[in-house]
């Protein structure tokens, strides 16, 4: 679009120059050629900028306050279950960890919510010091394999090295990202004051981008039975189960289109990140909060080692608002910028009155 606009201008210039040049060498007297195109000529002076500054101040401060209030209304709970501490429930699991162990190590982390969580509650897992944005890691995937391409399935991209083949079979899904899929299982129980443990229903679909799930990620076609489709391939070395066993209960959430997998495949921007794990949907009756205050227990199937690189694992519960998750930064930033603008406006006003007039007076005799 830009290019065409530019050409159009050029042609125009040439076109108008052509006939003129034939008649005489005298240039045409067009406004463009004589640099006299009509133009708006604004200048930035204290006078013109002042209203803008006050406007920004007046608009930003309320927005900031609104954002801050909304953000503060969002309930967020975070618990670290890595098990670094001797007394933490998962200490044993984190110590005894090895990839080869077949028996799962489980631990349960008790916690208390002081306030009720209303509406939909989102459950995240968070990792720290995990460089999902390392270059070698980011590129270690094969998007066409993940899109269901048959040839890539059997012959994945070179970028997947050294997670490309195992036992002379190609790995599906290949690459470092897929290989290091987060495989802790988190379950949530509400400890009723009467002592009974009530399982909280966690919804595991609807956590990935719709387009990712339906367009970008696709199982290789040809057969509804995924185990046959993935016959010729090998599972990633660190996985306990094959890709077609990720969620055998739901064919729409199995294989490459498993949402946990899709979420993991979207590499995080920073070494400390959180990823959506489950959604706790609000109760039908709307009367009781989704998560009433009280004691809870987080049951962890501890599979994912992070101690080796000083990592941390967290579980986060959060509600959301129109502006997303808890986000005090944006509100504070808006309030700060708004105030700064307002303050600058005042300063400029003073300067404008003091110096603006003086300059004008000095100019007039000139």
């Amino acid at each position: 679009m830009m290019a065409s606009s530019y050409n159009a201008k050029d042609e125009d210039a040439v076109g108008s120059g052509g006939p003129g040049a034939v008649k005489s060498k005298k240039p045409d007297n067009t406004a463009f050629k004589q640099q006299r195109l009509p133009a708006w000529q604004p200048i930035l002076t204290a006078g013109t900028v002042l209203p803008a500054f006050f406007m920004i101040g007046l608009i930003f401060i309320p927005i900031g306050i609104g954002l801050l209030v909304t953000s503060n209304n969002i309930k967020e709970f975070e618990i670290d279950y890595t098990g670094v501490d001797m007394f933490s429930p998962c200490f044993n699991c984190s110590q005894n960890y090895s990839w080869n162990s077949t028996s799962a190590c489980t631990c349960s982390v008790p916690f208390t919510l002081d306030q009720p969580f209303e509406s939909n509650v989102f459950m995240y897992y968070g990792l720290s010091n995990f460089y999902q944005n390392h270059r070698r890691y980011v590129k270690s995937r094969d998007d066409s394999q993940l899109n269901g391409d048959k040839s890539s399935l059997l012959n994945p991209s070179k970028e997947c090295e050294p997670y490309r083949t195992s036992d002379k079979k190609s790995i599906a899904p290949c690459g470092a990202i897929a290989n290091s899929l987060f495989n802790d299982t988190l379950e949530l129980f509400y400890i009723h004051p009467n002592g009974s443990r009530i399982t909280i229903h966690l919804v595991k679909t609807g956590i990935a981008w719709w387009t990712d799930k339906h367009v970008k990620f696709r199982n290789p076609g040809g057969n509804n039975n995924l185990s046959i489709v993935f016959q010729e391939t090998s599972k990633p070395v660190n996985w306990h189960k094959a890709v077609y066993e990720l969620d055998p209960s739901d064919p729409e959430n199995n294989g490459f289109i498993n949402e946990d997998f899709i979420v993991w495949m979207r590499t995080a921007a920073l070494p400390t990140f959180r990823k959506l794990y489950r959604i706790i949907q609000k109760k039908k009756d709307n009367m009781t909060p989704t998560l009433p205050p009280g004691n809870y227990s987080l049951e962890v199937t501890y599979n994912y080692p992070v101690r080796s690189f000083d990592g941390r694992k967290r579980m986060i519960l959060s509600t959301i608002s129109w502006m997303g998750g808890k986000n005090p930064f944006l509100g504070i930033a808006y309030i700060t910028v708004g105030s700064v603008c307002f303050f600058l406006g005042v300063v400029l006003l003073i300067i404008h009155h003091k110096y603006g007039n003086r300059n004008n007076n000095a100019d007039i005799p000139n």
Partner: protein, 1149 residues
């Protein structure tokens, strides 16, 4: 041609000193001379092929690529590209390869096309038919097959195919007329002479029997110098030797006129002709802006290298922990592991270089070139600079120096033809103190006799009358004017009789034409030169014939010319005319005092004066003179020197006849222009060959000197009284005292008004000043420094009596002085070429003295007054435009790359790029390129009219003020600040909280996570908007084009991003951008943070601008403000009705 010349060189050096020949021997018609005269040394000469093209079909690609990659920038990009190809780098090679490929291809196509045109032109020239005489017959040959020694026949209106020695012509007197318009632009006909002893051989058969050899110097580029000798073997054994000079040499490129045919022998062919030797390209001039740009580039290169180094070092420090280097989830491949650590470190360093290399973008060079090229059209298109009379506008020979026009500090101008019209008219002549004014005489008709003459003194007696007529005859005879024969001879006669002679006299010197025309009005008409006889029509309409014996041509050293004629009564006369300083010392009698007084009076009036003298020669004296001249002319070596000596002997013991005064009017608005240049802070120097009084008068008239200017003289007259040393010290003391008081005065705001100094220096004193002092012990040591010190404090300097080379010397001197000021030289004649080539900016005036100056200049204009608009408006605009362009380019790339640098700290120094490949590639090519290009073409911070009206605005940009280091550092820090804002703004949104979209727009109502590509896209979006809006803030002149391009670019970015993320692109092996942009836009906080961060980034710059404007406004800003206020006021007053107020306002303005 190359090969043969190399071979020649080799043979020359290998065979030793004795066979080194600095002259060549040409055998006419390839006939060997009679045996015994000299050993026949066959010399090899190149054929007559002209090669102006650079490439052939086969070597185009390698040679052109080689040429292009010799440019340091291109080479740098090539290296980056190769590194990307070889090692595993973060960005794909296309990101740098594509732009580079584009640039290289476009340049190659352009150069290839130009070369193709040159090839066509070469072929046309090389294959055009030439008539060669072989065995007595005329044979047609292709021009390129012509050989040295061939006898060529050239017909009227044909161009000479190579450099030829004229043997014979169709005219009996052995002359021919030639125009050298295509060589040096002089359209006048010049006369060339055949060798006297061969002029009889004027048919093909006869010429073929000629037996002669020519010895001449090896080819050299000076068009007007040639020394040679012809040996003619007639029947006798002893050859006749005749001298050959430039009057016998017909140059390739010149055209034969008014002569039916000529026979001539080829002596220099092909690339050895003087025309080809003059082809040599001018040395490349580089502008001050380009120099600052290169300095900035080096700074950025250092930044780039240090960034890469820092990151490499940090990477290895960070990776010392093996769990960081290779955590379980991110293993290296086996080959990577086995690589040596040093190799890995080096590869990492290169990878970082590649990642950050966008900080020095290819596109900057392209944009700058395009800006210069397209921008130069505004000069060509300028209506104000178009000259109706000539039907021509300005010429731009190079667009590299556009912005230098806004930086000029010293203007060196020629006087004649530049400040003045070079439209000469004889104002008066003075014979023995009696003054004749032809104007009073001639108003259309010639009045017979002396009655109409306005005589100031009492009428002369009989003796006086005789002297007077002699004076007029002298002026009619002593010149090199030609009469152009346009119609039949009768027609011309009639033309002259009717007084319409103006169009018929042609000469290379306009003074001579003016004199001869003036004589015509005074009753003596020069008719023509026929058979070496000059014919004059005297007052009684009688034909007088004088035989022209010798012409002692004018040269700028002697500053006079003479002719020796024999009257019909057999008396020998030597008439001489020249500058007073060169005539008076040679005069023995005559009314010297009266004439001198009159000459001085006229000189003060600004008239060009010439003195006329004569002497009678006896026959013996004449013979002696002839002998002297001939021996000098025959000399092969140092002929010029010998000739000068001979002239010196001959031209003496004159009897003074009188003097003439020719007026050269000032050009239109010359004074106004000079005054504007002064106000703009430029120092104007006038360099002229004229005499001091005349030049000073012109300077007063053109307001270079004012009435209150104190004139300091540094002339021969003064240095005769005092030693140069004392004079210099005196002057410097005067000037410095003044300077001291001035600095005190500046506080009271009276600067500049107190005292102006003007310096007058003449050529002789100047060479004394510039001469390196022999004894280094003398305390004054370097006169140069003192001289420069004086000049610095003078607002105007006049250098008179300058030789052409001295003009260039002066320019060089000022250029090399310690402030390194930017110089501009303007002139119209061939004598200004050296100075035009020497100065930073050379401007030629398409005047009467040919086009040589215009062809060698960087810009050519038609009138001196156009200089004002050229500098004050165009130069000013180009400078501010390119200054912003350069600064902005660096700024936007700091903004672009610095976040990537910061990101390395958060991705384990793994060279992970922040932005997607498409964004990396297109950022400089399409998202941000057009707004700045159009800005740099359209921007006008102040209106044209105000710039013209107020030259002081030029001082605001003097000394490269917009590209000084503080400004550069400000822009760089602004860029870094913005980059930090983009990065950490996005960082806190991602890090501190869940930066999520609530997915309202999506079908599922969920909350989703953003990855690293969204992070990069967010930063990039803020970046593109900020950078474009920053330019919008800087734009003062919003035409629809600016609006279109700025908003269009932003729109294009959005549309492109939607498209880029909207489809699974089948040809890509990654789909990382899929829906990233849309998802980002569907998130409320993303919008909020984009707006916030853009405002935060722009805020400091706005505040800085407003504060600077309010507290320390520059003149430019004040004027902008005043203008804005005035518009505001005008609107107000219009509302309030009063028309009177409006009128008052405008008159105030």
């Amino acid at each position: 041609m190359d090969l043969s010349s190399i071979r020649k060189l080799i043979t020359r050096y290998c065979t030793g000193e004795e066979s080194w020949v600095d002259s060549r021997t040409v055998y006419i018609g390839h006939k060997e001379p009679p045996p015994g005269t000299e050993a026949y040394i066959p010399q090899r000469f190149p054929d007559n092929r002209i090669v102006s093209s650079k490439y052939t079909f086969w070597n185009f690609i390698p040679k052109n690529l080689f040429e292009q990659f010799r440019r340091i920038a291109n080479f740098y990009f090539l290296i980056i590209f190769l590194v990307q190809l070889i090692i595993d780098t973060p960005t794909s090679p296309t990101t740098s390869g594509l732009p580079l490929f584009f640039v290289i291809t476009v340049t190659a196509i352009k150069q290839g096309y130009e070369d193709w045109i040159r090839h066509k032109a070469d072929n046309a020239i090389n294959q055009c038919p030439v008539h060669v005489i072989q065995h007595g017959k005329v044979v047609r040959k292709q021009s390129q097959k012509l050989r040295v020694g061939d006898i060529v026949q050239v017909k009227e209106n044909e161009t000479f195919p190579c450099d030829l020695i004229l043997l014979s012509t169709s005219r009996e007197d052995g002359t021919c007329f030639v125009t050298t318009a295509s060589l040096d632009g002089e359209s006048s006909h010049k006369t060339y002479y055949a060798v006297q002893d061969t002029k009889a051989f004027n048919t093909a058969e006869e010429v073929d029997t000629l037996h002669a050899t020519i010895e001449c110097e090896q080819p050299q580029p000076d068009l007007y110098k040639f020394v040679g000798r012809i040996n003619i073997y007639l029947d006798r054994d002893e050859p006749i030797a005749r001298p050959l000079g430039s009057e016998n040499l017909l140059l390739r490129g010149a055209t034969l006129k008014n002569t039916e045919y000529i026979h001539a022998v080829a002596i220099y062919t092909g690339m050895e002709t003087k025309m080809a030797l003059n082809y040599q390209s001018k040395s490349q001039k580089r502008s001050a802006v380009e120099k600052s740009m290169n300095a900035y580039l080096i700074v950025y290169l250092c930044i780039l290298i240090s960034k890469a180094l820092i990151n490499t070092v940090l990477k290895y420090a960070w990776q010392a922990n093996p769990n960081r280097d290779e955590p379980w989830y991110n293993q290296k491949t086996e080959t990577e592991r086995q690589r040596h650590v040093l190799i890995r470190a080096f590869t990492d360093f290169l990878a970082f270089m590649v990642l950050f290399n966008y900080i020095i973008p290819v596109s900057m060079y392209v944009t700058v070139e395009m800006q210069k090229f397209l921008g130069s059209y505004f000069i060509l298109w300028d209506d104000d600079m178009f000259d109706e009379e000539l039907g021509e506008g300005p010429l731009v020979n190079t667009s590299d120096l556009n912005e230098e026009l806004g930086q000029v500090e010293y203007v060196f101008t020629d006087k004649t033809g530049t400040l003045t019209e070079n439209n000469m008219e004889l104002r008066e002549c003075c014979v023995d103190g009696h003054v004749y004014v032809p104007h009073a005489v001639c108003n259309g008709q010639i009045l017979p006799g002396a009655a109409g003459m306005d005589m100031i003194d009492s009428s002369p007696g009989v003796d006086g009358k005789e002297r007077e007529e002699l004076f007029f005859r002298a002026l009619c005879l002593c010149h090199t004017v030609q009469v152009k024969e346009e119609e039949t001879v009768d027609g011309i006669k009639r033309g002259i009789h009717q007084g319409k002679s103006t169009s018929f006299y042609i000469s290379s010197s306009p003074d001579e034409v003016a004199l001869v025309e003036g004589m015509n009005r005074l009753g003596f008409t020069y008719l023509r030169l026929k058979d070496s006889h000059m014919e004059i029509l005297n007052r009684e309409d009688e034909m007088e014939r004088f035989e022209l014996l010798e012409v002692l041509n004018f040269d700028s050293v002697r500053r006079r010319m003479s002719v020796i004629v024999r009257s019909s009564s057999g008396e020998y006369y030597l008439f001489c005319k020249g500058a007073d300083s060169s005539i008076f010392p040679r005069v023995v009698s005559g009314k010297v005092e009266q004439v001198r007084a009159r000459v001085e009076h006229n000189a003060v009036e600004g008239l060009r004066t010439l003195c006329v003298a004569y002497k009678k020669l006896t026959h013996e004296e004449y013979e002696e003179t002839c002998r002297l001249l001939n021996s000098a002319k025959l000399a092969l070596h140092e002929r010029d020197k010998k000739l000068a000596e001979a002239y010196d002997v001959i031209e003496k013991d004159f009897i003074l006849l009188g003097a003439t005064a020719v007026e050269d009017r000032l050009q239109d608005k010359a004074a106004d222009t000079i005054e504007s240049l002064h106000k703009a802070g430029m120092k104007v120097w006038v360099l002229t060959g004229d005499k001091m009084e005349t030049a000073a008068a012109t300077c007063y008239a053109s307001r270079l000197f004012h009435r209150n200017t104190q004139i300091l003289e540094l002339t021969t007259k003064r240095t005769e009284e005092q030693s140069l040393h004392d004079v210099l010290f005196d002057l410097s003391r005067t000037v410095l005292r003044q300077h001291g008081s001035m600095t005190r005065d500046t506080f009271s705001g009276l600067s500049g008004d107190c005292q102006d100094y003007g310096l007058i220096i003449d050529g002789a004193t100047l060479s004394a000043v510039l001469k390196p002092t022999q004894e280094g012990t003398s305390n004054g040591g370097n006169y140069k420094e003192i001289f420069l010190e004086i000049c610095r404090n003078c607002s105007a300097v006049l250098c008179c009596r300058m030789a052409p080379l001295q003009k260039a010397q002066i320019v060089k001197l000022i250029k090399a002085s310690k402030e390194h000021p930017i110089t501009l030289a303007i002139g119209d004649g061939a004598n200004d070429v050296s100075m035009i080539l020497e100065a930073h900016v050379g401007i030629g005036i398409m005047g009467k003295e040919g086009r040589q100056a215009a062809r060698n200049s960087d810009y050519a204009i038609t009138k001196f007054k156009h200089l004002k608009k050229m500098l004050l408006v165009h130069g000013h605009y180009y400078y501010i435009r390119i200054a912003e362009l350069v600064q902005y380019f660096f700024y936007k790339n700091v903004c672009f790359i610095f976040p990537q640098f910061l990101y390395q700290f958060f991705c384990g120094f793994s060279q992970q790029p922040l932005y997607d490949t498409a964004y990396l590639t297109l950022y400089n090519i399409s998202f941000t390129s057009l707004p700045i290009l159009l800005y740099s073409l359209m921007e006008q911070h102040i209106n044209i009219d105000i710039l013209k009206r107020d030259p002081t605005l030029y001082r605001d940009i003097a000394k490269n003020s917009l590209l000084r280091w503080p400004t550069f550092i400000y822009w760089t820090f602004l860029g870094i600040f913005d980059a930090v804002v983009f990065f950490f703004g996005a960082f806190f949104l991602f890090d501190n909280t869940t930066f999520t979209s609530n997915g309202q727009l999506m079908a599922t109502n969920t909350q989703m996570m953003f990855g690293n590509w969204t992070f990069g896209t967010l930063v990039f979006t803020i970046l593109v908007f900020t950078v474009t809006l920053k330019l919008a803030l800087d734009t003062h002149y919003w035409t629809w084009i600016n609006h279109f391009v700025i908003w269009g670019s932003l729109l294009f970015y959005v549309i492109f991003s939607l498209l880029w993320g909207g489809i699974i692109w089948p040809f890509l092996n990654y789909q990382r951008m899929y829906y990233v942009f849309m998802q980002m836009l569907s998130s409320g906080p993303a919008w909020l943070s984009i707006i916030l961060l853009i405002i935060v980034s722009l805020l400091p710059d706005v505040v800085k601008k407003v504060l600077c404007r309010a507290l320390w406004p520059t003149t430019t800003e004040r004027i902008q403000r005043m203008r804005a206020d005035r518009i505001f006021e005008r609107v107000e007053t219009n509302i309030h009705d009063s028309l009177l107020d409006g009128v008052q306002n405008t008159t105030e303005a």
